[in-house]
Amino acid sequence: MIRSIGARFIHLTFVMTGILFLSFLLVSLAPGNFLSQMAMNPQVSPEIIQQLKVLYGLDQPFYLQFFHWIGALIHGELGYSFSYHLPVMTLLLSRIPLTVLLTLTAVAMSWGLALPLAVYGASRQKGVLDRILTGFSYLSISVPSFFLALLGVLLAGRTGWFPIGGAHSPGLVGNGGLDGIGDLLKHLVLPAMTLALGSFGVLYRLMRSSVIEVLEQPYFRAAKGRGIAPRFLRFRYLFRNALNPLVTLFGMELGGLLSGAAFVEMVYAWPGMGRLMLHAVLTEDLYLVMGGILAGSFMLLMGNLLADAALFFLDPRVRERRP
């Protein structure tokens, strides 16, 4: 097991280096650079643009810029944002906690709802509730998350039940007391619900079909025929076996913790990574883009690694396949 995980880590290092090199290459190959917008301003002369290019190191070939960046990365630095005039690490650390809070809450809500409801729906196929939930899951899959978010903003505006925009009220930032936590939760409810509703459909459909598949397996029928207690049957035989495909999905959800909420963050003005990265990409803020890619890829690879490890423990067939 340890050897297997060690091999995976070495593999991940190569994959990560490949991702970073290709990303750096692609960002550098994109026409223009951070200064292109400024260069189209009649009031900024080409001489000044050239001076700024030298100051930012954008006059160097891309491979030199890449090796400098990798060198800094080895020392724990992610470079410097051109637009914020700040280290990329500082910027990312200021945004990651709120994005993770939002996505984790959404994951908890969607999984907490979808899993039990899917088990219920699968065990009472074609029942009224199953039909309603199936219809709802189709709706959840087909309605884009930004549209749901706009509905949420309108709801908040019309009813006044929830604040619109941000994660805190101006007077309550950094307030760790009940007021502060309550205020944060009030700001969190709608964006988290929007994200949760968006992923509910996929989870429900996947879990439902997985449960139905297990229900039809001979080993499950045999167990049922032997008169095993329903609760034991549900958890030991049904739930555990139906979880396999969801474990892989959970790994991907972990990967999306930092990047999966960008649209919703934009509409609700949630101060997370999504908005920061969108601006970085639009303005070609090279090292900030690279910092975001590094963080996102790291989470995705770790998510996959964790999912594989979980499958290793959950599924004896995977254990037997090991070299």
């Binding site: 223009g32 009031q43 000044i48 001076q51 509905l151 019309r158 009813t159 509409v267 003005a269």
Partner: protein
């Protein structure tokens, strides 16, 4: 409460998102009334901004949110009047121009204090220019505006309250350039000396370290959420700015700028009474107009904006485009025919919801000091365009246009994807030019790719674009001088390619060195006549400037150049909103 929500959702699901926000039944509307406040000093102003500030360092700021916020925190020696664009004193008490415009002696207001209580004097001014704006190791784009023919202006201290600016040649826009922010020497000099200025006053800086002279000081910044500014008690207003209705300036105690990157969310926030000021696009008028009465706000329409939109053709002989196309584009009659083919009224009605105006020439109508009102506008006259095309050597086979060498007139039009309005304008243009036999293929490109094609590879034929509007025509020198890097139709010419370009070069040189405003107006009038005749840029339409203003706000006046807030220190809250 629940029926309101359902009403909104039902409307939205019907695809009437924006209209639904304002078009629900009466019970769904927000009804507000204004309850007067006892004391108009104090109160807060809430606005939305589209993005985070990138820096709190005025020398490094280049995007709009940072510059808007810094405008409340810092001041320059001069300021521009929002009413007529004239130069007024700010930190300066007055100035004297001598030696034919080569020397400007500026006297500072006495008793000025930085927000930390340290006195401001001429040493801060000299420091700001010499050690910051003219320092090549500092990443500031402001430097461009402060160079006269590529050279720095000499800045010296005569006495603690008198600073002398000297140039080798007279430079008319110098007084306007002196509006750049003056920065505190006592705080920043050690930082400049240590070589860390480019990292200083970032958005992570402790707000109390950011010291200015503006009416407000930075109180708090929460990344991605809001910026809070509070009243600067040491603020001293510029000469000519008097308090509104007897309050102590600045009248407001606080400004809250909420960062909301989504237009629709901002619109809903304004409609539901969460913000006091809202920049309205013509498309949003349909939603806002019916809500004025109930929402306790008014919509102030201030006439044409400064923003430009135009089409231009590649006239550059060094470009790799087909030689016969270059011939068309360099033909003045061809360009004039295109100008007469465009239906600007349709553009205004379709793209700007009827709230806009045709652009008559290179100077916006709002810039009264330089606008030439004697130039007749180009209307929509396809018949006249066809006659012009025939005179230019083109002929028709059926409805299609061919040049004298038998080439069908097909042109590729580039525009940038970031602006849906420009793409719509391009589509109208395509239909208009089809009527005169010209086939247009529209290619929308991402901004940086477009900029690279236009500025570096010259691989383009026709471009629909816009540039930042300026108040003094000299600001457009890089566009209009033949050697200019933004002389889009034929950039960086070694010598003026055409006679009229040589004349424009001369006019811009004269305009920069002529100090007499009447003479300058004549010079730039002549430039506008040439631009109107030769049409290197064919102007299109500009939207009206519209602002939604909460009725509780005072100190608000419509101005052509400065929005609805002529001076932020005069704005006050005369009341509070209360449900009706």
């Amino acid at each position: 409460m629940i029926p309101r929500a359902f009403c909104s959702i039902a409307l939205l699901l019907s695809g009437l998102l924006l209209f639904g926000a304002g078009g629900c039944s009466g019970s769904a509307r927000e009804h507000w009334k204004v309850v007067p406040r006892a004391n108009i000093t104090g109160g807060q102003l809430v606005m939305d901004v589209v993005s985070d500030p990138r820096t709190f360092n005025p020398a490094l700021a280049s995007e709009t949110t940072s510059t808007q916020i810094l405008g409340y925190l810092f001041r320059g020696l001069t300021r521009i009047s929002p009413h007529d664009g004239s130069v007024k004193p700010d930190l300066a008490k007055d100035w004297k121009v001598s030696q034919g415009g080569r020397r400007v002696v500026v006297h500072l207001l006495p008793g000025l204090l930085w927000s930390d209580g340290v006195p401001l004097d001429g040493r801060d001014v000299v420091f700001s220019f010499e050690k910051i704006y003219y320092n090549p190791s500092i990443a500031t784009s402001v430097r461009s505006e402060l160079l006269v023919e590529g050279k720095p202006v000499s800045v010296s201290l005569r006495d603690p309250l008198t600073v002398v600016f000297e140039t080798s040649k007279p430079f008319a826009p110098l007084l306007e350039s002196l509006g750049v922010e003056i920065l505190p020497r006592h705080i920043l000099e050690p930082i400049v000396d240590s070589g860390k200025f480019n990292q200083s006053w970032s958005v992570r800086e402790n707000p109390s370290h950011i010291v200015g002279t503006g009416p407000f000081i930075l109180a708090k910044y929460a990344p991605g959420q809001f910026v809070v500014l509070r009243r600067n008690p040491l603020y001293r207003p510029p000469l000519g700015i008097s308090p509104s209705s007897g309050c102590t300036m600045p009248c407001l105690s606080k400004i809250v700028l909420r960062i909301v990157p989504n237009d629709t969310s901002s619109l809903i926030r304004f409609l539901t009474g969460k913000t006091d000021l809202f920049g309205v696009t013509p498309q949003q008028m349909a939603v806002l107009k019916p809500e004025q009465k109930h929402g306790a706000f008014r919509l102030m329409v201030r006439g044409p904006s400064l923003s430009e939109s135009f089409v231009t053709f590649n006239e550059n002989p060094r470009s790799p485009i087909a030689p016969w196309k270059l011939k068309w584009f360099r033909n003045r009659r061809f360009r004039e025919a295109v100008a007469w083919s465009i239906d600007r009224t349709a553009m205004i009605n379709i793209v700007l919801n009827g709230m806009g105006s045709p652009i008559p020439g290179p100077v916006p109508i709002a810039v009264r000091a330089f606008f030439n009102d004697r130039l007749p506008p180009y209307g929509h006259d396809p018949a006249r365009a066809r006659v012009l095309l025939k005179k230019a050597g083109f002929s028709y086979r059926g409805s299609r246009l061919y040049d004298g060498e038998g080439h069908r007139v097909i042109i590729i039009l580039l525009t940038n994807t970031e602006s849906p309005e420009r793409i719509q304008m391009a589509q109208i243009l395509q239909a208009n030019l089809k009527d005169v036999g010209i086939k247009i293929r529209i290619v929308p490109l991402q901004f940086n790719m477009l900029a690279t094609m236009v500025m570096s590879s010259y691989r383009w034929e026709m471009l629909l674009f816009g540039l930042t509007g300026v108040l003094d025509p000299h600001g457009d020198i890089s566009v209009w001088k033949s050697s200019g890097f933004l002389h889009l139709w034929n950039p960086r010419e070694a010598h003026p390619d055409q006679k009229w370009e040589a004349e424009i070069d001369q006019l811009f040189d004269q305009g920069a060195t002529t100090m007499d405003p009447v003479q300058r107006k004549k010079i730039y009038d002549r430039w506008q006549e040439i631009a109107h005749r030769e049409l290197p840029l064919i102007d299109l339409v500009t939207p009206d400037q519209i602002t939604g203003v909460r009725k509780t706000l005072g100190g608000i006046h419509s101005t052509p150049l400065g929005g609805v807030v002529p001076h932020i220190s005069q704005v006050f809250q005369s009341g509070v909103l209360s449900p009706a």
